[in-house]
């Protein structure tokens, strides 16, 4: 947890009526500028939260399509690494921060458009149109 994060006292926590939700950032298609080590760390923090694949370009030119699920941040980029799955391989893979030259939020954001309000709107529209058995269905996997 970073020092600049607003902290709650126990009294504030116990008195909370509504919990603030997180702001959902629109990151799909974003290519962050990586001018400094801190830029890279921040971009990878966002990639960890992102519900889609990202494309990593390594300093040796290799491009990796990856779903990032773990970031271990160390004192230097060389001591920091991330873990990911690729669509084409079954095993977990690992890459050092110091090997990464470019990050692109290339995959579809799987959390976008799935807010409660979206469902309420869709439900009301379908109900008004006389539809029966209204439902959201999971996206196809193939």
């Amino acid at each position: 947890m970073t020092a600049e994060v607003l902290k709650y006292t126990r009294e504030e926590v116990e008195a909370l009526e509504l919990a603030p939700g997180a702001e959902h950032e629109r990151l799909e298609g974003w290519v962050p500028e990586l001018a400094s080590d801190e830029d890279l760390r921040q971009a990878l923090d966002k990639a960890l939260d992102y519900r889609g694949d990202v494309t990593l370009t390594l300093k040796n030119g290799e491009r990796i399509e990856a779903y990032i699920f773990n970031c271990q941040s160390g004192p230097t980029l060389a001591e920091s690494f991330l873990q990911y799955f690729t669509p084409s391989a079954p095993e977990k893979r690992k890459v050092s921060y110091s090997d990464i030259a470019r990050v692109e939020f290339s995959g579809k954001d799987r959390a976008a458009g799935k807010h409660w309000e979206d469902w309420v709107k869709a439900y009301n529209e379908k109900k008004a149109a006389g539809e029966k058995n209204i439902a959201l269905v999971p996206e196809a996997l193939d």
Binding site: L6, Y8, E17, F69, H115, W116, L136, V137
Partner: protein
């Protein structure tokens, strides 16, 4: 409390052994997620928002057994995703039963009736069916009309075949406490062993970020729901945890008590927050900065959480780890929690006229603060 004596004995002796050996951090329930794939697309669920290649992945039975063996928890909850979509779920369940683990297989029950013949009733196996309230409330919550009826059909068939069955519900802001109480009547009438319930949590990954109750509101809602209990109601949870939800007890979160394991590894720090993964339970225990989480840390991500994965374990440990806690648990099991103020809250929360599908626009904020 609707939990069989053999299960209580297993858990109580486990807790006492840990106490006698001076073990400070240990797991009570392993949250084993064998896959994230689901046959529902609930708008409030952040568990299923992954690219297809992640949703296609699943733990092998061997990976499941290794996780269970490593952490040693006496109980294993199998959420997901929808576990009944896992092609080897029967093998996984059999392997856990062979290890004498008490299993709660959490399911939306869309496939339950069809899959039941593949399972054998056992005191170690409970189907924990996701039902978020009465028919219209549940269907709206899971974004599928007709979902409730299919689930109830599965519940009735499972009960008929001699399986242990509970229901589990998550309540978000806007929940009508009167409807929840009627829901308890309905599910107990189906012959289930007991009810499991929890307040919703505002985790960052959930697409729906606007329906999360803070602690004050959670306590009022659960006091309205759980006071003045009917003698037919049974809860498959620690009575002390229910008192925590009602605002009668205070606990600090112990996320290591219900660790989560899935295709990514051991989730850090808990089932709800997703801040990385460890390769083993030991690594999770030793390398997580636990002081950064829970209410005392001031971490805003933990500010509204009163969820069982953090707070039921301390209630269970208190219940089986001290005479005071044990007596409190016995009292809580048999008490009806009479409370006139809570009855007044129910009257105030009662909807006027015909009820819309779900009261998402009339939250429980109208309820007054409770006298805790």
């Amino acid at each position: 409390m609707a939990i069989p004596i053999s299960q209580m004995w297993t858990v109580s002796t486990y807790v006492l052994k840990k106490k006698l050996t001076g073990t400070k951090r240990y797991p009570l329930v392993l949250m084993l997620e064998p896959l994230f794939r689901c046959n529902l697309a609930c708008a409030g669920c952040g568990k299923v928002q992954y690219p297809p290649h992640i949703l296609k992945k699943q733990l092998t039975p061997e990976e499941c057994f290794a996780a269970v063996d490593e952490c040693g928890a006496p109980m294993v909850s199998i959420p997901g995703g929808e576990p009944l979509l896992h092609p080897q779920i029967v093998e996984i369940v059999k392997g856990l039963i062979a290890r004498k683990k008490y299993i709660y297989l959490c399911t939306n029950a869309l496939e339950l009736k069809r899959r039941l013949p593949e399972f054998t009733p056992s005191k170690y196996l409970t189907f924990s069916v996701h039902l978020d309230g009465q028919r219209e409330h549940h269907d709206y919550a899971v974004c599928r009309e007709g979902g409730y009826d299919i689930a109830v059909e599965g519940i009735k068939e499972a009960v008929k075949r001699g399986f242990r069955v509970t229901t589990n519900a998550t309540f978000f802001d806007g929940t009508d406490p009167n409807s929840v109480r009627s829901f308890f009547d309905e599910v107990m009438g189906m012959g289930v062993e007991g009810v499991v319930l929890s307040p919703g949590y505002s985790y960052d990954k959930a697409p729906d970020q606007n329906r999360f109750m803070g602690r004050a509101r959670v306590r009022r809602l659960f006091r309205a729901i759980l006071s003045n209990r009917k003698p037919t109601w049974r809860f498959n949870m620690s009575p002390l945890f229910l008192e925590f939800l009602m605002g009668d007890r205070d606990y600090d979160c112990i996320p290591w008590g219900m660790p989560a394991f899935n295709i990514f590894g051991w989730q850090r720090p808990c089932y709800l927050l997703q801040e990385g993964y460890a390769n083993s339970y030991k690594e999770l225990l030793e390398s997580t900065k636990w002081e950064d989480y829970g209410v005392p840390s001031g971490n805003p991500k933990c500010a509204n959480c009163m969820v069982s994965c953090g707070y039921e374990a301390p209630a269970v440990i208190e219940g089986f780890g001290s005479w005071k806690g044990f007596l409190g648990m016995i009292r809580g099991t048999f008490s009806r929690y009479p409370d006139k103020h809570a009855l007044d809250m129910l009257s105030e929360a009662a909807p006027h006229g015909s009820t819309p599908l779900v009261q998402i626009e009339s939250p429980a904020s109208d309820l007054e603060e409770t006298h805790v």
